[in-house]
Amino acid sequence: MAKKKGKKIVKAKVKEIKGQLGKKVETAREKMIGQSIGYRYDVNLLPDYSKLTPFLKKYIEAMGWDDLNWLEDVHMGYEEDRPAVFCRNANGWVTIPKSIKLPNNQQDRDMIARELLVKFQMSPKHPLVDLKKAYLKF
């Protein structure tokens, strides 16, 4: 007598989506609105000026400003699970070199992100340098 073949239970593979509700710890706000909040950091976090790095102090002085100015809106986020800062000029994330040890405090991390971003934008290897060489009209 032929053996009855047992029914195979096929488990459907559910691909986990980063940030999906139910796949992470939601904030009260996310639970209330039923949506995942996609930001990688608190965009409204105000800078703590006591954490200014010496480089940033020199940058503020060189630009003739009184405070961080546009850098107040710069924060440390992440890209592909690596700490990163968003460069609006290159429209991409600049990942933080592994050699830089990051503190646990978000305010300190933000200052490092600001410093790194300014250095990246002033580097001759910034993508805008090539673009300007190719397309600058006047």
């Binding site: 509700l21 996609g38 703590d48 993508p127």
Partner: protein, 284 residues
């Protein structure tokens, strides 16, 4: 920057000869040493000296001529430029992507100081519509009143009006700080997505209407709240920052910031996808 990949299977658009490539990603690898770039110089900008000062009379110039002359003076290293007789001309001082100390002795018309990135500007008069639209960085100070759409779509920097401003101030702003010493009109912070607005006086109806994010601080009376604008608690960190910012703005020296109202987005209008666009690896 996207990688480009040749497609073997032709779509209808491709067979029509409209394109032969498809975008498959957004990753670009650029390596740089964080220690190499301590020169405080952006590629393509002029190295100006704030102590080198000159005056420019624009009475008989058109706006494009005046703007070109400002650029010419920067190329000669002038870091402080005083503009005489602006006479309410439109579009003066636009597109300055340089550090510079610029002073206007008079009033500006529409779209003054638009699309700037870096300069410190003082306008000893009034300004028309859309002053400092799309400001990226820097500081713009207006000594008197401003028209509507003040600081429309700014991305960064400080925009200060010591007088009162018209309607739709900070419309669609995506960063930066707008500070108003007097009153503000209706729909202030309309559709703002990020950044901060400080109003020391009263504000009109529909404050922060459809705001997605960002913060509005109001010292006076509020005409009415817009859709999804809600009150929030003013923290000690907010108060410290407000004191610092008002000092930078040279206004409200004795203003009691502890009595200010803080308005944020209720986030009920958020219709974002689960992922940010930058997280998506598909074609954009």
């Amino acid at each position: 920057m996207a990688n480009l990949k040749t497609v073997s299977k032709k779509s209808k658009a491709q067979s029509m000869g409209m394109h032969t490539e498809v975008l498959t990603g957004r990753t670009q690898q650029k390596f740089f040493n964080p220690d190499e770039a301590e020169n405080f110089y952006y590629f393509g900008t002029y190295d100006v000296d704030f102590n080198k000062r000159t005056e420019l009379d624009v009475k008989d110039m058109t706006a494009p001529e005046a703007n070109k002359e400002i650029d010419n003076l920067m190329s000669q290293g002038y870091g402080t430029i005083v503009i005489k007789n602006p006479q309410g001309k439109h579009s003066l001082g636009v597109g300055i992507l340089n550090k510079l100390n610029l002073i206007f002795e008079g009033s500006l018309g529409y779209f003054g100081m638009g699309s700037c990135d870096g300069p410190i500007v003082r306008i000893n008069g009034r300004v028309g519509w859309s002053c400092a639209e799309n400001l990226m960085a820097g500081k713009v100070v207006i000594e008197k009143n401003a028209g509507s759409c003040f600081g429309a779509a700014i991305r960064g920097g400080d925009l200060i009006c010591k007088g009162s401003v018209g309607a739709r101030t900070g419309i669609d702003m995506k960063g930066g700080t707008i500070i108003i010493g007097g009153d503000a009109g209706a729909f202030t912070g309309f559709m703002m997505q990020r950044g901060r607005i400080i109003i020391l006086g009263d504000v009109g109806i529909n404050l922060g209407d459809s705001m997605y994010d960002g913060t509005i601080f109001v010292g006076g009376e509020i005409g009415s709240y817009g859709s999804d604008a809600v009150d929030s608690e003013l923290t000690s960190s907010d108060q410290d920052w407000l004191k610092r910012k008002l000092k930078v703005a040279e206004i409200g020296e004795n203003f009691d910031v502890s009595k200010m109202k803080k308005i944020v987005a209720g986030k009920k209008l958020w219709n974002y996808d689960n992922l940010e666009p930058t997280e998506k690896k598909g074609a954009i």
